[in-house]
């Protein structure tokens, strides 16, 4: 007999017993009735619980290891994905933006003036060869570095200097180099440029800003060091290296070459109409692809522009 049936019988018996009330003397009936009612309430309560327990018991256990119940459709949850390069670029921009840098985007077709002349590359100088630029039939250039926007950024914001302010801007963009593609080389990639100009900008601030950026980006304290570089548009110029962060398996020994940087060449400031005797600036530029490659240990750069869902679906 189930618990519920037992309880129901008990209730029946109680009801039968209750009828005895009529046989009792008048003065005992009150006390008898209260006692009976209390017992009845208690049984009713237990019956309700037993009934609820019986509902749950009616359900049998399922195979939790299966993707669905027999004869049902397997449910599918579809998710979208964001391209890792764009996600990383967003993160880089957010950090600079939180440091007070304005953000403007680089053009994908530009001219010789912005790519070279405005950056103090002398006409026909071999330094131009190092950039392996593509050219259109009209002589336009899909730029080989985001520095192609420096002149525009300086002109756009130079009024701030006259108002006693500073120029602080970062410029992300897609750039191109005429390079054969293999697992570690791409002709199309992303860079982020930084430009800062003020009355007292100096090299110590340049390294300080970049150290701060990389420490925010990797969320740890990092050592930095430099090696000499040559860029016609900065003087002095340097290459910045950071200590390999622990999130990339660094143990305080390895170094990563991250970007070129330097004090903006006075000719570059002058060409943008900025008094180079009064104002100084620094600039830097680094690749975004490399940040992503390092982060995920990607062994083939060609996945980035492959459009392969097998690759993209990893970045939900």
């Amino acid at each position: 007999m189930s618990e519920l049936e037992t309880l129901k019988n008990e209730l029946k018996e109680l009801n039968t017993e209750y009828t005895k009330i009529k046989t009792l003397p008048q003065e005992e009936r009150g006390e008898f009735g209260r006692r009976m009612n209390l017992r009845k309430q208690e049984i009713m309560q237990r019956i309700k619980q037993a009934e609820l327990a019986e509902i749950d018991a009616s359900l049998t256990a399922i195979d939790v290891t299966a993707p669905c119940a027999p004869n049902n459709n397997i449910p599918s949850v579809k998710l979208g994905s964001k391209h890792p390069l764009m996600t990383e670029l967003d993160r880089v921009i957010k950090i600079y933006s939180s440091m007070g840098f304005d953000v403007m985007e680089s053009y994908q077709l530009d001219d010789e003036f912005h790519m070279f002349d405005s950056l103090n590359f002398h006409k026909g100088h071999p330094a131009r060869d190092g950039y392996d630029t593509f050219r259109t039939a009209e002589g336009f250039i899909p730029p080989a570095h985001t520095s192609t926007m420096q002149h525009r950024a300086l002109k756009k914001y130079r009024s701030r200097l006259e108002q006693g302010g500073q120029i602080a801007v970062v410029i992300p963009g897609r750039v191109f180099r005429n390079e054969d593609v293999d697992a570690t080389h791409e002709h199309t990639f992303y860079q982020c440029e930084g430009v800062f100009v003020s009355e007292n900008a100096n090299m110590g601030q340049l390294f300080g800003v970049l150290k701060h950026f990389f420490e925010s980006y990797y969320d740890q304290e990092l050592k930095i060091k430099t090696q000499p570089g040559y860029f016609p548009f900065t003087e002095p110029s340097a290459e910045l290296l950071i200590e390999k962060p622990s999130s990339l398996g660094g143990k305080g020994d390895g170094w990563l070459e991250m970007m070129g940087c330097g004090m903006i060449h006075p000719n570059v400031l002058k060409m943008a109409g900025i008094d180079s005797t009064k104002y100084h600036g620094f600039a830097w530029g680094g690749g975004i692809d490399r940040l992503v490659i390092l982060k995920y240990g990607l062994n083939d750069i060609r996945y980035f522009e492959s459009g392969k869902l097998d690759f993209l679906e990893k970045f939900l």
């Binding site: 998710l79 979208g80 391209h83 390069l85 764009m86 304005d102 953000v103 994908q108 077709l109 530009d110 001219d111 912005h114 026909g124 100088h125 071999p126 330094a127 060869d129 190092g130 259109t136 039939a137 009209e138 336009f140 899909p142 302010g165 602080a168 897609r174 191109f176 005429n178 002709h187 199309t188 800062f196 900008a201 100096n202 090299m203 110590g204 601030q205 390294f207 300080g208 800003v209 150290k211 701060h212 060091k225 430099t226 090696q227 000499p228 570089g229 040559y230 016609p232 003087e235 002095p236 290459e239 004090m263 006075p266 100084h280 522009e305 459009g307 392969k308 869902l309 097998d310 993209l312």
Partner: protein, 820 residues
């Protein structure tokens, strides 16, 4: 460029407490990126000088059975009874009495070191035991050709000597990155490189004789009385700022039969020994950075065919031909510079000598040239003829004209030659580079606090002449530093030589100003979140360069694309006009790879020649969003409207695709596509691909695409009307089915329902639920809607509801619909 550290140490006194490792680190952080450090010592471990005591031909072979004496090393190997060691050798020049190089059994053949690592052993050759081998210069990695075994001059070595010790091979070779020295022609010479190392170490640099002051101040030409008639004429001075040359007799130019220290030094620097005069010019180039070239004087005079020999330096004529030393005949471009003998070309300046004046073993008299040419022209020469020699690499950095005389004098001195005539034609002189700068301005730009005495000493160490006028420095750059013009150039020297890593870090003080973010970047970011996170699409990036055939397949006119003239391949020849064609291609690839039911999108820039140029005179680049999805028009429509109306809050409308749009988006099927509008502006179009286009792309699924111009919507206001009015009173719900003619547009029926409700004071929603048409040929179809409506101020009465339903009936009958 390969730099021998031993050679550097010959020029610089490296303090004893600075280890090689530390020195290389300093060079890497303050002069040039060191890509690789090659330790030569292990490569030559096991190579010894030996004497060939006996040498007997092995009958019926080209081999010789040799017994060698390895001095005190002999006892460590398999000795014969007479104490000698037996080696079989196949070289034609092996002979008794010679000193040779022996690679011992158990050692690696140097030329295979680091790759195949071929290890020698004791083995039998034609039945004879052979211990190790007698090595040729090629096996020792000093030469490329296998000619014979190396013979060693007994004046410099004895049996048992280590090869490495005699030839200075216990050395570290630094392979440095040339690019960061592009502006430093002086550092393309070992002396210049060493001078910088001295500067970095803070020690004085003692200039070797070649760069002593009088060599700069007193040209040799002014001290030699000509005994021969030779003239030099420079046609255009900017092509050749200075041409210095000397004529002298060459006693003997036969290559030495011995392996020379010069040949080994050249090999360490990545070059090869040719003959004594060429080796000398190459060694001087490696040391000083100044390339030299030797002509056979008699041939030069003969070629010119004139009684008055004259070297004329001039621009080449287009397609003028010259046969070069490597035997190839090239056709000149007009930017090439030619050295001519009475106008007959004898050398492609800076690049390579001509075959007609080649120096060989019979040469008696030479013209030695030490000159400097326009780096801009030579750069074009380099590109046009693909000549990337050590010489032209240096010339294209802009060798200073000042050093032609000192290096020529050095060559003459080392040859102990008597010049018969020296001509020095110096047409363009560099100005003396003087920079005035204060200590304060140096420290301000670097963020340092260096003393002026330290600054002066640092500069003096690398050849600058510094006058210190109480915090103002007057700095004269040395003759070889043509790159110094501005105060910033000096600041760079100081920052670099004293180490950027010693600059104290700081952060700029910034005013509290909210940064300005490009609204387009913000829009792109919002789109990516909406498309990936909400609509579950996949973001892709595809190349900005596409093939002509992709454009044609998508029906676009390739003439509207900016064409890349130096593209890597035809696949990447055209700058894309729209993104959709690339996405259609990727959709096809992913379908092929087994994926189903997906959507790809890309946000990027495009350009069309049809859009013309900006005010700046550069092509208009536009920001576009494109989507390609596997599905029909209606799936795309649901996604696009959700994206633009619900997620981006843009008040967009759409209409059947216009004939103009059909031309702009030729891959979309006009009958299955619409144009999108924001206000009066068309912002893009979407729809299914034309079947003919799908066929071209080999697509068997229905695929739809969207192309959207983001510039048009970047500044559009978001709609603020989210429909936030709710009634407190119960809503009436009704299902409505309307029977209409099969060709009546759904939109007309829906519009008429909206029109009806908009004229009532009601809060309402119309949700289409189904469209039913019994068969394709049926003359009517049923459109079903779920309606809910309520009055803002009261509960609707039954009679009012009947009136409303009656009103709907009347309204829709105007468009030919009847309630079922």
């Amino acid at each position: 460029m390969k730099i021998s550290l031993n050679k550097i140490k010959q020029y610089v006194q490296v303090p004893s407490d600075v280890s090689d490792e530390e020195l290389i680190k300093l060079i890497g952080s303050r002069l040039v990126e060191v890509e690789e450090v090659i330790d030569l010592a292990p490569k030559y471990r096991g190579s010894y000088i030996v004497k060939v005591v006996s040498c007997d031909a092995i009958p019926e072979t080209h081999l010789h059975l040799c017994q060698i004496d390895a001095g005190e090393k002999s006892s460590q190997f398999n000795q014969l009874d007479n104490g000698l060691i037996q080696v079989v050798c196949g070289a034609p020049n092996v002979h008794a009495g010679m000193l040779a190089v022996w690679i011992t059994p158990g050692s690696i053949v140097p030329t295979t070191y680091g790759h195949e690592n071929f290890r020698l052993s004791v083995r039998k050759l034609r039945g004879y035991e052979s211990n190790g081998m007698l090595a040729g210069a090629d096996e020792l990695d000093f030469d490329n050709e296998h000619k014979s075994i190396a013979e060693i001059d007994s004046k410099i070595a004895k049996p048992g000597d280590e090869l490495a010790k005699i030839f200075n091979l216990n050395d570290l070779i630094l392979d440095v990155e040339n690019k960061s020295l592009t502006h430093r022609p002086d550092c393309f010479g070992l002396i210049g490189f060493a001078r910088e190392v001295a500067g970095i170490l803070g020690v004085e640099f003692v200039e070797p004789p070649v760069f002593s002051l009088e060599r700069f101040s007193q040209p040799l030409a002014s001290t030699i009385k000509p005994q021969l008639n030779l003239k030099v004429e420079i046609m255009e001075s900017q092509l050749c700022p200075r041409y210095t040359c000397a004529v002298f007799d060459l006693p003997n130019n036969t290559p030495s039969k011995y392996l020379t220290k010069e040949a080994v030094f050249l090999a360490k620097s990545g070059m090869r020994s040719i003959d004594p005069i060429v080796d000398l010019t190459n060694i001087l180039m490696l040391e000083t950075g100044q390339p030299l070239h030797a002509f056979d004087y008699d041939k030069l005079v003969a070629v010119g065919d004139s009684k008055t020999p004259k070297i004329i330096i001039r621009a080449a004529m287009a397609e003028e031909e010259i046969q070069l030393l490597d035997g190839k005949t090239i056709s000149c471009i007009k930017d090439d510079i030619l050295i001519t003998s009475n106008n007959v070309p004898v050398a492609l300046a800076g690049a390579m000598g001509g075959k007609n004046t080649e120096v060989d073993a019979s040469t008696k008299r030479i013209v030695l040239e030490s000159a400097t040419f326009s780096l801009y022209n030579l750069r074009k020469t380099q590109m046009a003829h693909g000549i990337f020699s050590e010489a032209i690499t240096r010339f294209t950095k802009g060798q200073p004209a000042a050093i032609t005389n000192p290096v020529l004098v050095e060559a003459i001195n080392r040859l102990k030659a008597e010049p018969l005539v020296v001509v020095d034609n110096w047409t363009v002189r560099d100005m003396e580079n003087v920079v005035k700068i204060t200590t304060q301005s140096i420290n301000e730009l670097l963020g340092t606090s260096y003393e002026s005495s330290l600054i002066a000493k640092t500069l003096t160490n690398v050849g600058f002449r510094v006058k210190d006028y109480n915090e103002t420095l007057e700095i004269i750059a040395p003759e070889w530093r043509t790159d110094i013009h501005l105060p910033e150039d000096i600041i760079e020297e100081i920052g670099r030589l004293l180490g950027y890593d010693n600059v104290p870090l700081s952060l700029p003080l910034r005013p509290f100003v909210e940064p300005e973010i490009d609204p387009m970047l913000q829009l792109k970011s919002a789109l990516r979140t909406a498309l990936s996170d909400n609509l579950r699409m996949h973001e892709v990036l595809t190349y900005s360069f596409v093939s002509r055939s992709l454009l044609e397949k998508a029906g676009q006119d390739p003439a509207n694309s900016y064409e890349i003239v130096n593209s890597i391949s035809p696949e990447l020849q055209c700058f894309r006009q729209q993104i959709s064609p690339s996405l259609i291609e990727k959709t096809r690839d992913n379908l092929k790879a087994g994926h189903t039911d997906f959507a790809l999108y890309e946000v990027n820039q495009v350009a069309s020649r049809a859009d013309g140029l900006t005010d700046e005179g550069i092509p208009f680049t536009k920001a576009h969003l494109a989507i390609a999805l596997v599905g029909d028009f209606y799936l795309m429509k649901a996604n696009v409207l959700t994206l633009l109306r619900d997620l981006l809050k843009l008040d967009v409308s759409y209409a059947k695709m216009s004939p103009t749009s059909a031309k702009i988006y030729p891959y979309l099927e006009p009958g299955h596509s619409v144009d999108l509008f924001l206000g009066a502006h068309q912002i893009g179009s979407f729809g299914e691909l034309r079947p003919s286009i799908a066929a071209q792309f080999k697509l068997s699924n229905t695929v739809s695409a969207l192309e959207l111009d983001l510039d048009q919507i970047v500044s559009a206001p978001e709609t603020q009307d989210l429909g936030l009015t709710f009634s407190k009173f119960p809503a009436v719900e009704r299902d409505l089915t309307l029977k209409v003619s099969h060709d009546l547009a759904f939109g007309r029926v829906l519009d008429s329902l909206h029109e009806f409700f908009d004229h009532q004071n009601l809060i309402y929603h119309i949700q289409p639920t189904s469209i039913y048409q019994p068969s394709l040929g049926s003359s009517t179809k049923n459109l079903s809607f779920h309606l809910d409506f309520s009055a803002p101020e009261k509960t609707l009465k039954t009679s009012e509801i009947s009136d409303i339903m009656e009103g709907i009936k009347t309204k829709v009958s105007q468009v030919g619909a009847e309630i079922v």
